[in-house]
């Protein structure tokens, strides 16, 4: 086996072609059934489905926002603390990250249900008398998705803060800048790359999310992925599912391309 040339790559490329590229293209082709764009007209024209797109987009934005809010402090802390604590922090991030989505989603069902942990604790403590509707609705899905996607925000932020030259911060401190100022004027602007990368990843992943909305949404929160699954498994409406998939794919690629455009390579340290 020569290590030269493209030969070693061929088996993997064959796999990717036959079991990835080809099936996806073939399926997307179904959307053009009869050579017409009717299914696209339906997907993008009918109010019902437009609402699904809009809901998906909305959730993705909200999830990204909360992940940013919660993820930046975490990434920042991990990157600026001692190695031991950083490792501890990593464990608390990687363990949820690699735990099955199913396990995490189930756990939220346990936590958020009418008889779930939160409601039981709050009722028993006398803070509320009726259980809060935290499950099988928008709120539950939001909480669940933020939880699943938070690590994807933390890691790029961590990377970006780590790459920051500590000498710059030291210089700012020496020049008399307060902690808050240092954060606003130095950390934030210089780690924008990491923030952006994390936000893009979280947003794009949110668009295509299936498990969490399917289980935590209780049938009331329809996101695109959930809709696609329904169209295929229940309605057996392949062309429509294909059209929806095509729109989702285009949206995904569009966001990525936009992100590429706006990301500048960081200056060498």
């Amino acid at each position: 086996m020569s290590m030269r040339g493209i030969w070693p790559a061929l088996p993997a490329l064959a796999l990717l072609f036959f079991f990835f590229l080809f099936p996806v293209v073939r399926m997307l082709g179904f959307s053009l059934e009869g050579g017409s764009l009717d299914w696209y007209a339906k997907a993008l024209g009918e109010g019902l489905y437009l609402r699904v797109f809009w809901a998906t987009f909305e959730i993705a934005l909200l999830v990204t926002f909360f992940c940013l809010l919660l993820g930046y402090p975490l990434g920042f802390l991990m990157a600026t603390t001692t190695p031991i604590w950083a490792t501890v922090g990593f464990i608390f991030v990687l363990l949820p990250l690699w735990t099955s989505v199913l396990v995490r989603t189930y756990a939220w069902m346990v936590l958020l249900g009418r008889n779930g942990v939160f409601n039981r604790l709050l009722i028993d403590a006398g803070i509320i008398s009726d259980p809060l509707p935290l499950l099988h609705n928008f709120t539950g899905v939001l909480i669940g998705m933020v939880h699943v996607l938070l690590p994807y925000m933390v890691l790029p932020v961590y990377g970006a803060v780590r790459r920051l030259d500590p000498a710059i911060v030291a210089a700012a401190e020496g020049l008399g800048a307060s902690t808050w100022r240092i954060f606003w004027r130095i950390y934030l602007p210089l780690t924008l790359n990491g923030i952006f990368a994390g936000a893009v990843i979280v947003f794009v992943l949110s668009l295509g999310f299936f498990i969490t909305p399917a289980l935590l949404g209780g049938g009331r929160v329809i996101m695109i992925a959930v809709l696609i699954e329904q169209e295929v498994r229940q309605s057996l409406n392949w062309p429509f599912a294909a059209a929806l998939s095509a729109v989702l794919l285009v949206a995904t690629f569009a966001v990525y391309s936009l992100a590429q455009r706006f990301t500048r390579t960081e200056p060498a340290p």
């Binding site: 099936p23 346990v110 992925a225 989702l248």
Partner: protein, 259 residues
């Protein structure tokens, strides 16, 4: 002062991250016959339920060997691919790299539906090897990312030295290059395994009647919140913890230093 506030805030966020992971432990040990919090007492009943149920055991076993097979296939295909990407010069190399990482970018639902369409035609639904192939497609990007990072840091002077000392290309590869890449190989293999073991969406479509563990869990969750799921969840969490420990001890992260 603001540092303290930061640490406190992060403590709460970490709690948020870990809460679901932690909550399944007590639930799995509950003595109540249905989902109840707080648990009235402790019992091993859910674990016993799991171990006594051949469907659960079958599903677990399937997920395990599909995971192992996926890791093996993903390494067998991904390692040579990584070598080509890092060391060879050929037209379209950037394109190949994009293609290798594409399965991570394309939403899994689309991939699942598409492969489902093909597999239905090929009568591969419900077969374990069909699932292995689909999971390998999903695992390949991880393998490629880890191996490319490992290869980029590799000192080729060592290979030159080996050749100068009389080693053939093959022997250099097997005696020097691959042994030194072992941390990356371990990480890549474990990541591929865990990604397959946890994988739900593709399994939903492709597993048919022969369920993987995640598929069975999904169906179970949809039908009822049975605390057996909690027991299964605990075991899955422990498995992930084990994998993380193994990666920490024997593997190598993406960042560069062997962690």
């Amino acid at each position: 002062m603001s540092r303290r506030v930061l640490v406190l805030a992060c403590g709460l966020i970490y709690l948020f991250l870990m809460l679901p992971i932690l909550v399944v432990f007590p639930i799995s040990l509950s003595s109540a016959p249905y989902m109840q919090f707080p648990p009235p007492g402790w019992s091993w009943q859910w674990y016993e339920r799991y171990l006594d149920d051949p469907q659960w055991i079958d599903a677990t076993w399937r997920s395990l060997y599909i995971g192992v097979a996926t890791a093996i296939l993903a390494l067998a295909l991904g390692v040579p691919l990584a070598f080509s990407l890092v060391r060879a010069k050929f037209a379209g190399r950037a394109l190949v790299e994009r293609l290798a990482l594409a399965p991570v970018i394309v939403p899994t639902i689309i991939l699942s539906v598409a492969v489902y369409g093909i597999f239905a035609k090929l009568k591969l639904i419900g077969t374990w090897y069909g699932l292995v192939v689909a999971h390998t497609v999903l695992a390949l990007p991880f393998v490629v990312l880890v191996m490319v990072a490992g290869l980029r840091d590799f000192d080729r002077g060592l290979e030159q030295a080996a050749e100068g000392l009389g080693a053939s290309r093959w022997r250099t590869l097997t005696r020097i290059t691959l042994p030194l890449l072992r941390p990356s190989l371990v990480s890549a293999g474990l990541l591929a395994f865990i990604s397959s073991f946890d994988e739900v969406v593709v399994a939903l479509f492709l597993a048919g009647a022969n369920m993987t563990l995640p598929k069975k869990m999904f169906d179970n969750i949809l039908m009822e919140i049975d605390p057996t799921i909690a027991a299964v969840s605990v075991m899955q969490i422990l498995l992930v913890a084990l994998v993380l420990v193994l990666i920490g001890r024997f593997g190598r992260g993406l960042s560069g230093s062997a962690r």
